[in-house]
Amino acid sequence: MRRYFARKVAIYLLTFFVAVTLNWLIPRFMPGDPVLRMLTRTSVSNPDAIAPMREYYNNVFGLDVPLWRQYLNYWAELLQGNMGISVWLFPAPVTEVILDAVPYTLALLIPSILLSWYAGNKVGALAARRRWLDNTVLPLGYALTATPYMWIAIVLAWSLAIIAGIFPVAGGYSFDLQPSWSLVFFNSLLQHWFLPFLSLFLVAFGGWAIGMRNMIIYELEADYANYLEALGAPRRLIRRYAFRNALLPQLTGLALQLGVLVAGALVTEIVFGYPGLGRLILMAIQNQDFFLLQGAFLFIVIGVLIANFVIDIVYVLVDPRTRTGMTGGAA
């Protein structure tokens, strides 16, 4: 057990190291020069002024030292929680910009992923035993998972926001409000949150429900279920076992979902103009703000690693088969 976890932690640390290195490398080889971009934005017309300003910005961004130094500096800064300065929102520190956006993304993704997982598994398990439910959930589920996400999001925004006017179309909160701890503001947050949340919930829900239904039916036909039936075990007991065993692959699925968490929100945040990490990434790309891009990606990588680590632990707790794999087992 100890060795297993030690090995896991080592693997995660290695992954982290590689991810940070790649993360540092990639933007540097992307086309475009961020400093030049800033200079054009401030529309400096005097060519004599460009050189010193360029020097100044290079210094601010730490680009005036050799690459290897930049790399080491990057690590040193990173370990202090410092990810540089945003080009797009100059001179806001990247960490600050990201921390402003993260709550929105998390508030969107965590409830939608967890709730859709929970509800999908519940409904899928029920569908596996009630015919009428099966006949409605299954086609609905397939329809939901087969529809491109973009489509669902746009249809929701169009029908419930633009046509019916029940929900706001875009943004994280009403433009005429300032963030504050007031009920009015909170209410506005909630209203803006609902549609993007619903769109994410719906697509994921269909997939979970179908997966669970199929897994349960598969488990109910497994040998152990047949044996229990031959020994006269009540349906209830067999279903309980089947449910538990069917949940294991769903748990892996959940881990993967949590893993690709932010990629999923990218489209949502763009469609609904929601001010989370996804939109931040888009902005960073559009403005060639590679410090911000790095910061966002790094945040995603850390999220993925943490999610997977947690799921690893949960899996060990619920599935004895992984546990024996760790100790070598008694053959």
Partner: protein, 316 residues
Amino acid sequence: MSLRVDNLKVYYRTLRGDVKALDGATFTVADGEIMGLAGESGSGKSTLGKSLIRLDTRMRLVEGGVELDGKPLPIGDQDAMNAYRFKAVSLIPQYAMSALNPTRKIGKMISELLGARGVKYSEIKPELERRLDLVGLKREVLNNYPIELSGGMKQRMVLVLSTLLNPSLLIADEVTSALDVSTQRAVAETLVEFRDREFVKSMIVVTHDISLVYQIADTIMVMYAGKLAEKAPADVVVNAPRHPYTQLLISSLPEVGVRYADRKLAGIPGSPPGLLNPPAGCRFRDRCPLAFARCVEEPPFVEVDKNHHVACWKAQ
């Protein structure tokens, strides 16, 4: 008489029609009898075995009845049958390797199963442990997950569990085919021991390996294409079979009594008829070297000698 089966017909419903996998079986198994049930793959052995404990959703009881210890066994009624399962009729399935829920500790699973059947685990645990000792399993296996046991250990575990409530009838389906030769022998001997200790009254040991079952069975029944071909005491079946199919079967064995690992019933030219629309008359007719005009009529399964039943016109 422990078990009496009367003209039992069980078919599989398929889109193309009924597969007549068990087409009129009449036989008895006495108290204390271990009956080997032999026949090549697809002859209906498992269908017969399953019929006696649990019809699956595709199986249909067409005709006939079963009596156990003088009382009718409601095999066609899933709910009524439940009371008899495990307690009166029990099963060691063909898939014993995967018969235990992989995510439950064995002891916990047993206690949940027993609890659901109205038996107190704590009361039966001492007996369970005695039987584990008997088959050479450590008591700690109850704290293990199935995956922690080897194939032979799982087989013995299932054997102990299936017989824990001292059923009148045990059906053991191909219990040895997944094991290596030495383990096969041990499991077969354990079956005999369980009978001798009266954990089980009578047994039907399904196998395609006559040479193995010959060593433990009191009687052997041979099936062919969904019908009974012959039933007689084990040494009579092996040394003086009367049905042409049994004769070919026995002569294709190198030497009965010697262990030949996983000896398949093969070597008879031709193949058995499909059971969707089997031909009328003797189903062995196409392959039978002795076939003659009368064989277009179906030969009845009759007693030609004491305790020796054969379904063949030539044997009467």
